[in-house]
Symmetry: C2
Subunit: 239 residues, 2 copies
DNA sequence: GTTAGATTCAAACAACTGTTTGAATCATGC
DNA sequence: GCATGATTCAAACAGTTGTTTGAATCTAAC
């Protein structure tokens, strides 16, 4: 006899997953701090106490929701980068490194089993939300991957000082986090809605050339305001 | 007889300004939503009810704090851009347009009368914080300036399709907001602390070449996944 | 000195937060 | 059937939030 009339395998595990799904969607819509446990349990159609029973606290729920997405994503990014470097002979071009940074996120968003593009916006929120939740948690998830990409980019642009590279990676992550945060931030400034805002692949196709050019840009003149010369617009290696 | 022993001119206006100052500093440190009225009134050394008496509500306080900074900043940006265009003969180079976007913010942060770099981080927070406070308010402050800069950038890069320009402006604002948000977001990802993170001028000097190169980057190939050719790395006008 | 209005203050308000409790319910082993 | 442990549930907990109240205080004009 199929002991349960419903579809759920175990009684406990289904509410656990329903909580994760409800929390993820609500976090994406409203942010982490602004979402209450009562909203989450209401959407998940479970009792309020279920969160503390299954996860211990709201903070632990947030961590679990993030870890479920961030961990695999950064692993995939690093693996993608490893594979590219193993196949190539010399150092990778910047565009390929950016590909390793963006394509795994794109694939994640395209997976119909997961809730698609909501995942990307969730990650964007993780960076937008300041303060307590992320302060100690996110870095551990990202530091390894960030160091790995800094190393690859350093090989691709050996002429670029490390301090300059660190800053340009910051700018890069800023642009990425901004578009991943979703409509909220995008509509804030734009006079008109950007086209294809809901198509991650289209965004990536526009983002890579932008970032590649920025990362490889000639460095600024050391001090005074003399405008960059035309010669300065050529990559250093050509000089 | 100097009717008041203290320095304050009017009794009411001083607590009003003390509230604005305390709120601004706390908003910058903790964000808007996470800062309670009791924290604000405690730091300002005024009664709790003073906020609702002088401003009506917390939301109105937030708006007032932002408007006091965002309004003049965006006015200065547009004026700077107007002056550059009036002096130049043809269309402005992208670097000058970015200069108009960034230098007024830099000057604001350098003003010792204001609380210096705290202002920049406050503005960064305004973009980082999702949800209710900004949704209806920030756009009005920014839409005019954003349209003005889009127009200038369009003139500087007439070959660039408008849809592409809108997206690249988004990327640009993302990078700017990210570095303006301050240490929180920066330390999140970096394996090591970026140098001169507290020196706005140094950041701008690094940011302009990055963004200028990104904005003027060659556009991506239209569809299929063929890796960008070497010819594709040249600007369109050279084709 | 008295009066009128603006400002401050302590106290309470209602609504919400995350968390805990203890009994009820369930599935499942014996 | 019965007992055991896991899970659910309604209810309450203690704490914080933004806001309101009504009396007390201050300022300034008459």
């Amino acid at each position: 006899m199929a002991s349960v009339g419903r579809s759920g395998p175990k009684p406990g595990v289904e509410t656990r997953e329903r909580l994760l799904a409800a929390a993820e969607s609500l976090f994406m819509e409203q942010g982490f701090r602004s979402t209450s446990l009562r909203e989450i349990t209401a959407r998940a159609k479970v009792n309020l106490a279920a969160v503390n029973y299954h996860f211990g606290s709201k903070d632990a729920l947030v961590r679990e929701v993030l870890q479920r997405r961030l961990g695999p994503l950064n692993e995939a990014r690093v693996q993608y980068l490893d594979r590219l470097e193993a196949e190539a002979s010399g150092p990778l071009p910047v565009e390929r490194i950016l590909e390793a940074l963006l394509l795994p996120a794109l694939r994640l968003s395209r997976n119909p089993l997961e809730h698609g593009s909501t995942v990307l916006r969730l990650l964007g929120r993780a960076f937008s939300e300041p303060g307590d939740y992320m302060k100690d948690f996110l870095p551990d998830q990202y530091r390894v991957a960030a160091r790995r990409f800094q190393q690859a980019l350093g090989r691709a642009m050996p002429h670029l000082p490390e301090s300059e590279l660190v800053w340009r990676m910051h700018f890069t992550f800023g642009a990425i986090a901004y578009v991943m945060a979703g409509d909220d931030a995008l509509q804030l400034v734009a006079s008109c809605q950007a086209p294809e805002a809901d198509n991650p692949e289209a965004i990536v196709r526009r983002l890579v050339p932008f970032l590649a050019a920025g990362l490889q840009a000639p460095t600024a003149p050391p001090l005074d305001g003399s405008p960059p010369t035309l010669a300065g617009t050529l990559p250093r290696r050509a000089a």
